[in-house]
Symmetry: C2
Subunit: 301 residues, 2 copies
């Protein structure tokens, strides 16, 4: 039976549904393959992944998953080559770029408290928020993806009429102090707003890579990019030293590794390995070389 690639939830297969084996998953329309971890193509995007313990570099915190791409292993699952940005891996990047939801299936061989004890379980929709290369201790490079769970209310709100009300949450209620959490959120949000404000003010919304300013009727515009990624597993800080003022095009190029920086703040084109210019600087904006090196390590051998 041909597999029809569908994004999002499959009717009749809600979150939590168990499956005996990979063939059942395929017949249900949840995942295209019986072996590969990733169900997807570079042109269409990836609609599903299976976590089943194939890679020691995976991390599974439930709502946040660090997922290792496919390829470079021999038949005994030993890494013998670098992974590449092709096939299913490029499919997950396309899902990131187009914000397509990815179904996550966990299998019994995954070494995690979130794995089922037997067979497979569909565990809901996630979005891909970032990808990078990781150099393993054996010297091989693997691709990694950060996935974050999408809540049911979000999924439905995106498609609802304006007059529809919200949807109940099916998640368990955590034992945390909401007031403390809200206060922390406010502090972080306002810290972030001040970093964005400073970076844009210093550079007057001029892109530090291509010197473009996107002029809008409301005024000049730019984006603030972080050099070393925020959040697990990079945990870069949210400060001016770890931020750049970029146009949206160069923000995309920088985050997806088409460009990186040398220690002299020269701009390197990853594909041609040519220096294509020098980063625009500002006396008040000191850039942390540790962050530049961390970002570069994602995209170079």
């Amino acid at each position: 039976m041909a597999y029809i690639r569908t994004f999002g939830e499959i009717p009749g297969h809600p979150e939590g549904t168990p499956y005996a084996d990979r063939e059942e998953l395929r017949l249900a329309g949840l995942h295209a393959h019986k072996q590969n971890g990733i169900s997807g193509t570079p042109a269409e995007g990836a609609d599903a992944i299976v976590l089943n313990g194939g890679y020691p570099d995976d991390l599974d915190d439930g709502d946040v998953i660090i997922y290792t791409g496919q390829g470079g292993q021999d038949s005994r699952k030993r890494q013998i080559a670098d992974q590449k940005l092709t096939d299913g891996n490029a499919g997950l990047v396309r899902s990131q770029a187009e914000e397509l939801p990815v179904r996550v299936v966990r299998g019994y061989e995954e070494k995690s408290v979130h794995a089922p004890t037997e067979g497979y379980r569909y565990d809901g929709l996630y979005r891909v928020v970032r990808h990078w290369f990781k150099k393993r201790s054996d010297g091989f490079r693997v691709l990694q993806f950060r996935l974050e769970k999408i809540s049911t209310s979000e999924i439905l709100r995106d498609f609802d009429q304006a007059t529809d009300a919200g949807e109940p949450e099916s998640q368990p209620i955590p034992q945390l102090d909401p007031a403390k959490r809200i206060e922390r959120a406010i502090k972080q949000l306002n810290r972030r707003a001040s970093v964005v404000r400073n970076i844009k003010k210093w550079h007057e919304n001029v892109c530090q890579i291509c010197r473009t300013t996107v002029e809008l009727p409301s005024g000049p515009a730019s984006e603030v990019a972080h050099i070393q990624g925020l959040g697990e597993p990079h945990n870069g800080p949210d400060c001016e030293e770890n931020a750049l003022c970029l146009c949206p095009n160069d923000h995309l190029r920088f985050d997806y590794g088409a460009l990186y920086l040398t220690d002299d703040l020269e701009i390197m084109d990853t594909k041609s390995q040519q220096i294509i210019g020098k980063l625009k600087t500002h006396p008040k904006h000191s850039i942390g070389l540790q962050y530049v090196r961390q970002h570069r390590s994602y995209w170079t051998r």
Copy 2:
């Protein structure tokens, strides 16, 4: 007392808190002004708005608000001039661009079932998702903003550690059939994926405005923009005839009205009123002039 602009929730002032008058709101740090609807500046963004019946063009569906900007009225609240993309209006555009949360306060003079019967009430955080000019029947142009409510679980998830679980929803449970809603969501999502795929394939990820392709290690990239906006109040269709293949920079310019199209598909620069080029076309991609005219009407007199 000086007003300290804070984005997001104010500790001690949860959603639903009532206030007797505008001065109480200001002292609580919720809104900077005693008269203006918008609390914000072009450089910092807008942190709050008050809905209090000042504009007949407002629409309030609870979770979705169509909010009219400020300016152009005389002391008796009659429109006597066009509104401009300055001051608080430009502040709301900055909040849109930087995805800053906006506090929504409803007042007793608002003509809506969601308004309080007396005084003012803080009604939670919203994001600005779109803005445009509307030509009123009296010939004056006003700015409008579409705001969508941010759920509590989303706010907290953005700032939480990876291991934190979700947060309970405080919204009432609506009487709707979840299965039907999920099926509709899936159909729409997959329809959308096919429009994106066709547009990118036909144009090979080349921007129809500037002919740039953003080359990434995972392959060429582009974005699919809708000409007439989706959702209330524009309700443009999600089809190829209403879509363009653009680079992220021109997507931003097009959505924020720095560029629009003539009936001959020439590209007009809004500020200089000069034609700066012609839209790239493809034989399979017919573009609906009704959508082009609708988009143009947002940004021209």
